[in-house]
Symmetry: C2
Subunit: 284 residues, 2 copies
């Protein structure tokens, strides 16, 4: 019986017990991995503990893996701090932006050999430990972005985390991830927010005429505004590129509304095609 098939993750520290971090902890607890819950807001760690996500507080000794479930712009600082404390043998995160945190970590002298960036493509418009679910990552994509200098043991620990959470692992480069996620998630979030903002403060008549369309279109606009400010600003350059395309299309649509040109139909057809591609990819 070779040891290579045995689970190697026995102890994991979750730093940041919001919806994402607590969901990771719950998934691990369901497989009896020992988890420690750290949060600068100790009440949040206690709330996660009350959900059965593990033990609130620092582990008695160095753990196998620390999962940094903090906003993108806090990742580098938390990594530096926890590496200084010797919290874990390996570190990963669950942030939706990868390049900027890595550059910051490098700039402030983190040990990048034990850190591998991560991003599960799963979430919720709800936030906090009470919105967490052990099944959040089941069958979802989970990106890891190791670099040449990342130690094999760190990659292995992060990859095992992905597997234990029931997700599907994809390896990507940081820049490639950030470019793609700007289009697949960050711009949709911003657009949904703008749309939801357009019904803020309107009169009752408009609200009565809101159906399933605008309800689905604005669902993600309920996401935490401070967290999303952080995410969007951390990926500003890539988002701006896609936003300029979106703005140009909206502008063209607006002009062709009254001109009766074929441009509007053409845009709606591209929308049909994009939607069909998405559904085919998700069902395939």
């Amino acid at each position: 019986m070779s040891g290579e098939w045995e689970p190697t993750l026995e102890t994991v520290a979750i730093v940041g017990t919001g919806m994402m971090g607590t969901s990771v902890a719950l998934a691990l607890r369901s497989l009896d991995v020992r988890t420690y819950l750290l949060d600068c807001d100790h009440d949040a760690a206690m709330a996660a503990e009350s959900r059965g996500a593990g033990i609130a507080g620092r582990p008695p000794e160095t753990v196998d893996l620390a999962v940094l479930a903090v906003p993108p712009r806090s990742i580098a600082a938390v990594l530096a701090q926890e590496q200084a404390h010797g919290l874990a043998r390996a570190y990963t995160d669950v942030g939706s932006v990868k390049a900027e945190p890595l550059a910051e970590a490098e700039a402030i002298g983190c040990d990048l050999t034990t850190y591998v960036g991560g991003h599960p493509i799963a979430g919720s418009e709800r936030s906090g430990p009470m919105a967490a679910s052990a099944k959040l990552f089941r069958d979802k994509i989970w990106v890891l972005t190791p670099q040449a200098e990342t130690e094999a043991d760190a990659v292995r620990a992060a990859a095992e985390l992905v597997t234990l959470c029931g997700a599907r692992l994809i390896i990507m480069a940081h820049a490639e991830h950030d470019q793609a996620i700007a289009r697949s998630s960050h711009v949709p979030h911003l657009v949904a927010s703008v749309l939801a903002a357009s019904i803020h403060g309107v009169d009752e008549t408009v609200l009565r005429l809101c159906g399933a369309g605008i309800r689905d279109t604005t669902r993600i606009a309920a996401g935490d505004s401070m967290l999303w400010t952080d995410i969007l600003q951390a990926n500003a350059t890539e988002i701006a590129k896609v936003l300029s395309e979106v703005a140009a299309d909206l502008d063209a649509a607006s002009r062709s509304l009254s001109s009766g040109s074929v441009e509007l139909t053409e845009l709606l057809r591209r929308g049909n095609a994009g939607r069909a591609t998405l559904m085919a990819a998700q069902n395939g």
Copy 2:
């Protein structure tokens, strides 16, 4: 036993057996109202008949009510034509734009005393008779837009249709409806289409990073592009007003992405508030 509580709609003609028209017919058939299915594409009428929506073909005599389930820009012409044929004693429609069809109907000399505009706030991104459902309108809002000149019998027939379909009746003025629906439905549709178009032709990497957020945000972008061209152009003026707000917000967001200003958080908070208002209204 007074006759005023008896159902008065015994025969209804559905003109246009797409998803909406066939859904109306199915709802009526479930209550044993006799329905006749007319469509310029006779195959569509036959398909609706095969779903149990009624009898494909013109009724042998004048019916109680005709429901015009055709695109907004065809309503006036179809109304004129069917009034000339003496199809029904009263006419309504299910189009999502009300002012322009009415103005057109007036311009081409329709009898407006027997016509009452209608718009059920229900739909699907799918189209055609096979996508129809007898339950489509259950508990949904259904707007009627009678005018001073509309005969009471026509209003009564249309209101009974709303009740028979299980929907909740709201009376509004044409202009008020069109202004509100631009914000609650037409602009969201256009924005969802632009977003879906932004992932048309992108590489596999982007598609793999698409999660539930963009899936929900773009659902309605699957709607029929010719029908939606018609709808959006028929309500161009009201849509353009809302679109200019949306464009200004997107532009401000784009600028504040890199500047680190509070404008971005402010926009996301307005999005949170708009979303919360919407959910409160829909659950209330």
